[in-house]
Amino acid sequence: MRYAPHTDEDVGAMLEAIGLASLDDLFAQIPEAVRLNRPLDLPEGVSEPEIVQDLADLAGRNRGADDLVCFVGGGAYDHYVPAVVWALAGRSEFYTSYTPYQPELSQGVLQALFEYQSMVCDLTALDVSNASLYDGATALAEAVALARSTPGRGRVLVSAGVDPRHVETLRTYGRGAGYEPERFELRDGRGGRPEVGDDVACVVVQHPNVYGNLEPVRALFGAAHDGGAATIQLFDPVSLGVLAPPGELGADIAVAEGQALGQHLNFGGPYLGVIATRLDFVRRLPGRIVGETVDVDGRVGYVLTLQAREQHIRREKATSNICTNQTLMAIAAAVYLAWLGPEGIVELGRRCAAKAAYAAERLTRIPGVELRFPDAPFFKEFALRLPRPAGDVCDALVDRGFLAGVPMRADDRTLLVAVTERRTREQIDRFALALQEVLA
């Protein structure tokens, strides 16, 4: 299948207009020595029905969350995605446009992003948000870059409760920026004591943390601020109907993996990175920011603003290299948040918390299964200690129709179980029976 619309007659007329004899002449300036001079070693093109069949075959080799009951979390969750989200974000006037460089033709994307930014601020109780970053892990790396702006304060203290993939991404970014994230240990699955000297730029805490546990964020951030460091909280956006928001816990910068906001699981992406911060950081915030203004007739409209932070203006002095972000995902997130509204996000949070509590209670009735951190409160995800290696247990449970959770790296018998609003009591009960059988 091809999409170029030219007839042979078009090609002939266009070549004639530009005074060339053949299409090859268009490439005459490519030195002979670097020309390929052979066909690409790829298959011949195929028709649309054939590619659909090929991809349906590949998709059929996956077993997803429609087929297996999903208790896997670890940053991406099987929350319900309302039909309205992609019916709207999937409108092609949005998805076939690009970064709104011509605002008069892009008011739809610009206003949707302004509304997204507004709802992120409502959610986090912070002053400003940008128009999205790539994902939670890269958003954390950008937040750390933002926090490392005071000369002499370069060290980055990261709680051992932060997701290891986030920390690995941070470490990669740190190699370019010249820092190595330093870990401070948890006590009984949360808390810990960051040593905040006067060379520390920031303290990073994830709440709920990598084990699902709720962190004493106010105390950790209080210690960070006492030591003069900035505070960064990784949060779960759908927890903020029931959990106190980052802005009230003392976070200077809040970042999140935004997958839970109406994004399909998609084997890890596209999701979106959410970032919000205080107004005094706004001129160093990375990425696109939409602002309200007026046109020459005084009508309200929206533009990309504070562009002097950005790579296309500031080049090597830009606050980040980010150009393309995850705009479409931010539009979907805006639709999702408005679908929930203040009542829906509270009800969603309550359902997750109640079902997780029920599942934890039900699963720990199985002989040999216990909570890894029995004294730690959690929200929608919790760590179980199993009598057998968690990877083997997950594998065995696939054959019984379950995606059981995430085997934790810390030790091979810890399984992280996530319970969203989609899981029913009946599914949780069946899951418990299956786990019991597998462990028997």
Partner: protein
Amino acid sequence: MTQATGAPVRRQGPPGLGTLKALSRPGRRAWSLPELDVPAAEVPAEHARARPPALPEVAERDLVTHFTRLSQLNYGVDTGVYPLGSCSMKYNPKVAEAVAALPGFARVHPLQPERTAQGTLELLWRLERALCEITGMARATLQPPAGACGELTGLLIMRRHHTELGDPRTKVVIPDAAHGTNPASVRMAGYEALHVPSDARGALDVSALEKLVDENVAGLMLTNPNTLGLFEEDIQEIASIVHGVGGLVYYDGANLNAILGRCRPGDMGFDIVHINTHKTFATPHGGGGPGAGPVGVTEELVPYLPVPIVERDEAAGTFHLDSDRPRSIGRMHGFHGNIGVLVRAYAYVFLHGRDGLTEVAERAVLNANYLAHRVEGAFPLAYPDGRPMHEFVSTAALLRERTGLRAMDVAKRVIDLGFHPSTVYFPLVVEEAMMVEPTETETKETLDAFAEALLQASDEAASDPDLLHEAPLTTPVRRLDEARAARHLKLRW
């Protein structure tokens, strides 16, 4: 609204929309969740939120109308030609959307057991091989979620290469016409950017490069064709100069669309290549993302690719994620990258196949040359001696001299004539630059109509300059006060 007598009559566009917040009424709702079937459990009081977030309260019907009307205020490729230079705003095949939405792809969790995700892993493995063949590289990572992240990935690979040789270097050379992401990525990778000028042909100045490079230079970043739309004919010499001091040569894939099947970065001497799937392989730009920025490297650099990468067990015919790569630079993304975008890129690559991809480049270059020819009387090429590839850079400098009107005024008038304008004021090295990339998916009739619009705007600049000064008149809002937006920050409701 008042209009001065004699000014062009404004054709009223659709009325502007209030925000969702303005539609909000206490008690209205759109959400729908099942009743709780387990005992209620509250989070501990010290962690609880005191009052719900002040999100809007709207009915689903309001939500649908609001976002539908917003979408109608927006211009996309589906609306018409979108000739932004360096962005390859080509038609996005609908079939790619359909296959990416298959539950077998969309409903797979990134951390579920590998044996339950064999289809996606195989797709990634096949796509990697195709991209390596297209670019002439040995292996590739599909993890970077956009081109700029691909740049950083490539530069961190460059850094690791020199570090392992015990020779950490400090500088990376970039052309003065480079995209802003290049110097920004260089800085994020911990290097200093050295700028090399363009010469009178609009090509990289080889003698300046020779003087600039030394043993402190880690590498060079280059697009080819370059950002002026011209092929760097001295590419082999350029590569050998950089290799001569032990540096690596990085290919910015922004302009790969021009050369598909004709030549390959690997054969030109490039060591590291990033690809923008949202440009070359027609994955939708999404209003500014998601993209995907796969990075290919030569055999020597394969150990440094980010973890994990997809490997195939030849004996079993199965696929797995390999994270046990001690020389890797590490992760560039929390999971595996923008997989949904890569599914679309896969569909595009294999729909076209070897001949189809070559034809893409031919038609893209044909369209750009034809359009350049149609408008050159009014908007001459900034570098008229070179043949444009898939895009061309014209200048409105003459128009400005003659009439005082600028490239931006032309762009705004083109909007009133029914088109999305080209990129303006980039590259920075060209005065009054208009960077035009029609892509291969536009018909001759569309190109003719777009050319007529540009020529009309040029004529009107002399005959009726107010039409340009006042433009656009037909849009939902007219020219917006950007200075005010930055001065009186209103970034939320």
